[in-house]
Amino acid sequence: MALNPLANPKGVKRLCELCQKPAFIECLDCRVTYYCTKEHQGIDYRGIHKKICSLLIHLRAPAPFLNSGEDRQNRKDEMLLRQKQMIDLTRTTGQKLLFEGKHEQAVPAAMQALKFAIDVYGLSSIELVPSYLILGEASIGLGHLSHAEEYLSQAQWTVLKTPECSHDIQSRLHRNVGLLYAAKGDYPESLNQLGNDIYHSSEAFGTDDIRTSGGYFHMANVFFRLNKMKTADSLYKKVTTIWFTFLERIINVRTRTPVVPKGVGPVAEEPPMKEEVLDEAQEAEAIQVLNAIYDMREQQRATAQVMAKIAYAVTMLYTVLHDFSRANSFIYTAVKASKANPEDELSKKIAELARMLQTPYTSGIAMGMKI
């Protein structure tokens, strides 16, 4: 990474991208991002700058001289669109980093998202809440509970001021606040918040959506810590089932054999089935949640049926993500666990997937992978 020491010209104030202190170095690729120290540059680069470096040039370059008002308006619109795209990109990145457990790296991404959101929507908009939430969660992950509380309070206040706030945002807010309380050790309050999260999320997506499953998962963790094993267990089961059905749907869509028309005649074009997609953050969440449950079940020495189910779910996940080597390692467990009752519906499915995974090339084609 090449860096230029800055000799700040008079009258121009360059501020560090992260801490807003006077900057002394700049990124050589885009030449529009400045840092106070190399350390900050490194954090930013790993967190988000790697992804948005080239995109920032367009946004931050000084505005060219445009003659007509129409051109100016066009440029303005274009900038706005780009900024909105940047918000999406940075936010998703931040969320993904959070799920991967890289809390420190998530902070710069969330900060970028927050900056862009402020630019686009103003200071008191509800659009800032997701960024606050990521920052809050990152702070919880880093152990800075007071920071987290500050961010989350900010978010809460914004939500409170916006009564027409969507259920989606409310659910995420409550989830983060719940996590904060859980981290603080205030479990009843945490359960209350997580309950709110599930309620709002169900209002927005339904009770059995993967976006609702996160609330159940965190709730299960809280019950686990409260040592109410049976409740926690049933909640973990619920999370597994939600992911299980979701992944199964995807696999079914991908491996469906198209209907071969018989005889001569006009071929009825059937509408292609819509495949649900996981965005990056959801992928990371799936990996985190399912692996966590898998590890826990392994430690618990759960029954063969439960084990088979979770192992199968993890296998499906890695198959969907085209990570066949990992999928193969998990299917082994699934097959072993399903031997207990081979007549089961589940066991048949597992056997089928195992057979498909044994021939990675064909399965790759079947799964729509470019080879």
Binding site: L18, C19, Q20, T37, E39, H40, I43, E104, V107, P108, M111, I118, L123, S124, L135, S139, L142, H144, H147, E150, Y151, S153, Q154, Q156, W157, P188, E189, L191, N192, L194, G195, N196, I198, Y199, S202, G206, T207, D208, Y216, M219, F223, K228, K230, T231, A232, S234, L235, K238
Partner: protein, 533 residues
């Protein structure tokens, strides 16, 4: 690590109240004990607004300080709070159940649109009482499920379903859901004898029958029937064995299905088949009454498809059943139907016997309408047998009864039948006149009139008179001539002629009776029409 420094300051607007309210500090304050009452007298100081503000402040101080959760409780809807309560206990299944039920209801209502009846119905989330009951039972069920006590789970769902049965008609679908859940719960029972499962099946299909999906109900009941096989020790709430219950319900379902099929003439075979099934079920355990009814229906169906012998067999069963249960009305119906099938078998005597019994029974039970029916049926039989005296007797009876009942439709029919029978009775007198040997002239005139019959009645009448007059003259002249010329002719020849004329006359009579029969048929048709009306 520089991470602490990484966290940037939060930009704040200068004037906007971006600072979150410090609720925690308020919560920590110790509330002053409320000792004073509100002072209604005010000091003269300050303007009116200031005084009002002071007063409000004082009033507000009297209110208890709320914790965060409590404020939320007040802010949120009842549904929200209920869901929160459930979720805080970790009862995710209960939450899903309640939440999805409410969602489903709203969805159905939206689809039905604002003009439907559903739109005016009260929604579930406006009925706290029901929701609370649901919450209690569901959470209990979930607790029990965690304990793997599935029998209790079944009980919980069952109670809940029963509760919704008692509430109001619109909640049937809810109780249906819970019956289904109860059935699912019994599937998880491992070491039971299947009695609960049987009961659950019974409940589910009783319910699906109520909402009209008979095929589904049939499936469930058949499972129930199989489960209860060889289990005479299972006794239900009413004291009957479950097996009997199964038979009874299956019988009912089959007969309903049959009735539905019966409307379609192409499904006659299936119709019979279902009725037969219903009868078998009733025979096995439905009790005398149900068996009777089933056999009656089966008998009628057989009669309809012209298998009178089989019909008679089943109708006899019904008759016996009615005798046991002292059901006079049923007995009457049985006799009537039996008489009908006997008649189509060609056994008129027995048919009359049965009809007489029918009349007797209905007389005993003072069922006048049935009696009138019996009399007219009897009359019809006698009429067709040519015993007009008895026919007239019976029709008179029927006519009088229906007059007493003052029932217009039956009166007119009875009157008509009575008229026909009386007319038939007259035919014998008429025939005697025509057949009369002495008055040959009648026959001859009749023959001639018949030969010369033309379209116009009036003309024909005049012509007839003329012809008759001339014919009379001619015959007189001939007779005189003959008497003059052949005074010695044998009387035998004359006898032979008479005999010929007799034959013709009898043929004529037959013709006339035929035409009268046609007329009576017309009358019957008209009777049918009036009955239809």
């Amino acid at each position: 690590m520089a991470s602490v420094g990484v966290l940037p300051p939060i930009k704040k607007e200068r004037l906007a109240p971006d600072h979150p309210p410090k609720t925690s500090s308020i919560g920590n304050e110790v509330m002053p004990p409320i000792t004073q009452t509100v002072q209604l007298s005010f000091s003269k100081k300050g303007t009116h607004e200031e005084r009002v503000r002071r007063r409000l402040k004082k009033l507000r101080q009297q209110l208890p300080l709320l914790a965060k959760v409590e404020t939320y409780r007040i802010q949120n809807t009842f549904k929200h709070n209920l869901c929160l309560d459930i979720l805080q206990g970790g009862y995710h299944e209960s939450f899903s159940q309640i939440f999805n039920l409410m969602q489903l209801q709203q969805l159905v209502r939206l689809q039905a649109g604002p003009e439907s009846v559903l739109w005016t119905k009260k929604l579930l989330h406006d009925e706290p009482e029901k929701l609370t009951v649901m919450k209690e039972w569901l959470t209990r069920a979930e607790d029990m499920e965690l304990e793997e006590d599935f029998e209790s789970v079944y009980q919980c769902y069952h109670e809940l379903a029963k509760y919704f049965q008692t509430t109001c008609n619109e909640d049937k679908w809810i109780s249906d859901t819970f019956f289904d859940l109860a059935l699912d719960a019994t599937a998880k029972l491992k070491d039971s004898d299947g009695r609960l499962m049987a009961e659950a099946h019974c409940n589910v299909d009783l319910h699906s029958r109520k909402i009209g999906s008979y095929l589904e109900a049939t499936d469930h009941f058949e499972v129930f029937y199989q489960l209860t096989e060889d289990k005479p020790e299972w006794v239900g709430d009413t004291g009957d064995t479950l097996r009997t219950e199964a038979c009874r319900q299956l019988c009912l379902i089959y007969s309903v299905t049959a009735t539905k099929l019966g409307t379609n003439p192409h499904q006659r075979d299936q119709h019979l088949e279902y009725l037969q099934k219903a009868y078998d079920m009733a025979n096995e355990g439905g009790g005398v009454h149900l068996e009777g009814v089933a056999s009656y229906k089966l008998g009628l169906a057989y009669e309809k498809s012209r298998e009178s012998e089989a019909a008679f067999k089943y109708l006899t069963v019904y008759k016996d059943a009615c005798m046991i249960t002292n059901d006079d009305k049923g007995l009457g119906k049985a006799y009537q139907a039996m008489a009908k099938s006997l008649q189509s078998l060609g056994k008129e005597d027995e048919s009359i016997k049965h009809l007489e019994m029918f009349a007797e029974v209905s007389e005993q039970s003072h069922d006048d309408r049935a009696l009138s029916e019996a009399c007219s049926s009897l009359g019809e039989v006698f009429n067709s047998l040519g015993e007009y005296d008895q026919a007239v007797d019976n029709f008179t009876k029927a006519y009088n009864i229906s007059r007493a009942l003052n029932d217009d439709a039956t009166i007119s029919v009875a009157r008509m039948l009575y008229g026909i029978a009386t007319a038939h009775k007259m035919t014998s007198v008429y025939m005697r006149h025509i057949d009369c040997v002495e008055e040959k002239g009648f026959m001859g005139r009749l023959m001639e009139w018949k030969d010369a019959r033309t379209e116009e009645i009036a003309n024909s009448c005049i012509e007839c008179e003329k012809v008759e007059y001339e014919a009379d003259k001619v015959t007189d002249a001939q007779i005189r001539q003959q008497s003059r010329e052949r005074q010695d002719t044998d009387t035998k020849e004359a006898e032979a002629e008479e005999a010929n004329e007799d034959d013709k006359g009898s043929k004529d009579a037959e013709d006339s009776t035929e035409s009268e029969e046609d007329a009576s048929k017309d009358v019957e048709e008209s009777k049918g029409a009036t009955e239809d009306n």
